[in-house]
């Protein structure tokens, strides 16, 4: 078995399985709904509070809208994530890969121009966020090694993905797949887990806010 075959076969299965198992494990441990003590009598609607917290945090709230840092991070964050989703779910090789290995997708892949635009937006966002990790003294102080590893791995995955776009080179494709697999294995143990936990975090906070009839 060649290295490429190994990467595209057993290693892919291994990393994807590990990813699924540990991500599920972690989500289940968060969604552990066993009762702990008696909840205080609610003063407002917990569900409304949870939904509110889930939705309002998509955009900065006043008075924090006056902060340049808030806007910089929000715009860069959206650019990176939206670009990444488009690449992940609609780039031609990804659509083919998903349809071959997992399930048919109800949408068409994006054109090459679409790919380039999405990649540029996403890279721009990621570079803005990543640069801030080094430049802004606040963020420098709170960054953990994990944040750097996660950002760097994501960056490399995206970069190798762009390099492999033509699909002519098996080496480049293998390189990209290899990094994706590393990323998948690293994912459940790292801050990349925020991909799945952010709505839960917002919901639990909002649930408590709803109980107290306050607007968090």
């Amino acid at each position: 078995m060649s290295l490429i075959e190994l990467i595209e076969g057993p290693l892919w299965t291994f990393s994807a399985t590990l990813f699924v198992i540990f991500v599920f494990w972690r989500l289940i441990s968060i969604l552990d709904l066993r009762r702990r003590g008696a909840s205080p009598k609610p003063q407002g609607s917990r569900l409304a509070g949870a939904l509110r917290a889930l939705l309002v945090r998509f955009v900065p709230r006043p008075p924090f809208t006056r902060s340049g840092r808030v806007w910089f991070t929000t715009v860069a964050g959206y650019a990176f994530h939206l670009g990444l989703f488009v690449l992940l779910l609609a780039a031609v090789p990804h659509v083919e890969f998903i349809e071959r290995r997992i399930a048919a997708l109800p949408w068409e892949p994006i054109s090459r121009t679409g790919f380039v635009i999405a990649a540029e937006i996403s890279f721009l966002g990621l570079i803005m966020l990543y640069t801030r990790r080094f430049v802004d003294p606040l963020v420098r102080r709170i960054n953990r090694p994990d944040d750097h590893v996660a950002s760097l791995l994501t960056f490399i995955v995206m970069l190798t993905g762009c390099m492999a776009l033509g699909r002519q080179s098996a080496f480049l494709r293998g390189l990209h797949m290899g990094f994706v697999e590393l990323w998948l294995i690293y994912f459940p143990f790292s801050s990349l887990m925020h991909t799945f936990t952010w709505p839960i975090s917002r919901l639990v906070t909002g649930w408590e806010a709803g109980r107290r009839a306050v607007r968090w």
């Binding site: 540990f22 494990w25 972690r26 441990s29 968060i30 969604l31 552990d32 709904l33 702990r36 003590g37 008696a38 205080p40 009598k41 003063q43 407002g44 917290a53 889930l54 945090r57 900065p60 709230r61 006043p62 008075p63 924090f64 902060s67 840092r69 808030v70 991070t73 964050g77 990790r133 802004d136 003294p137 606040l138 963020v139 420098r140 102080r141 709170i142 960054n143 953990r144 994990d146 944040d147 143990f189 790292s190 801050s191 887990m193 925020h194 936990t197 952010w198 839960i200 975090s201 917002r202 919901l203 639990v204 906070t205 909002g206 109980r211 107290r212 009839a213 306050v214 607007r215 968090w216």
Partner: protein
Amino acid sequence: MSEQGAPTSTVSNVADLPEEVRLARAIDGFVAEFGPKTTAWLDSCIRCGLCAEACHFHKVDPDPKYVPINKIVPFEKAWKRHVGPVGLVRRMLGLAPRVTFEELREWEELIYDSCTMCGRCTLVCPMGIDIAELVHEARHGLFEAGLVPSRLKELDEKAHRLGSPFGTAEEMRAQVERVVREYGIDIPLDRDRADVLVTVTPTELEEKHEVLAAMARIFNHLGWDWTLRSDAFEAHNFGYLSGDMETQGKLTTRLIDTAREIGAKMLVIPECGHAWQAARWETWRWYDEPLDLEIRHVVEVLGMAVEEGRLRFEPLGKSATFHDPCQQIRRGGLDRWPRVIMEALGLEVREMTPSHETAYCCGGGGGVVAILRARELRDKVFEMKAAQFEETGADLFLTSCDTCQLTFRRGAADTGWDRQVDTLLQIMARQLVSDQPPLERQAAG
């Protein structure tokens, strides 16, 4: 008692134990707090640093150490190492370094002196992480390691021993009897049965006698069947503030159990923020079943009485601004009532910017007012708040929390600011119109 309410020991000589033992105690304290919420929050932090935009301490001192999420780093590190199999894998992969005792020592200042658990950072976090709650949880570990600011520890120990930092039941009774004599007012004390159990703050017993007298006068005027109890009068909860869960539980259960014993249907919390937090929103830690008791804040019950037309005041005809106590407003759900009362007092309300749930903290909540070495930082926050007040051009500076008032008074004394800060109840006491004689000190007092 629920699992979270399991007692930890209040050991006054923890500081004499070897550092490894203290560290192990801290980790146990942290682990006792870990739960699904902690995981949801800590797993979601992307280190964007936006929480810094909200924190008053960071605003007045831009040192990056004051970024809110930085304040819980040892707690987060312990969580990474000690959460289930994922923690095990992280340990094996070297992704979860150990917490050291030195780190805990360094973080004592961040967890206590520079966080009032005000929750303003919770509002700005795009992930919705409740850092205030995480700081409260982290304090448990630091307390267990004996890393608590000395004054806070003293007050906590006194509360643990006597049930109140104010003093004993006898001292409380003597003080209430003094107020009865001073104001010629009837204060039902130590009744065996009553519908309402009223609690007080140490300042009300020590010096704000007019508030105690006014509360008595108002409750009598409303025709309540109420009592103060010398074995359960203290609303302040220094266990909550210091991370001493045993004392927090002891103080909370004393109030609630006494209320139930005397057949009370309502427990009234006085003008204090953290007392409201501990009694109203933290009871789940100590009881497995929902409580058959209403827990209400005095501002809330008086606001309701005003709305029902059962309380009237001599209009003041002045303007006033209101400092929103974080634990009552942003984290307490009482936003509406202070304004209802102020309107009834005939005050023109001029809001500070920001106000309501986004208001800045006074800088002394969460026990910070009791920490001597936090004074400089606290005073900087005070200057910011004083400037916000001045901007409104209002005649009166009001609040509804003893701790906020004390913080402002200390800030004013330290910085030479010559304005006065009153609480709503102090103003209500002066302006109350009732069929009873006006509230004035009697010669006997």
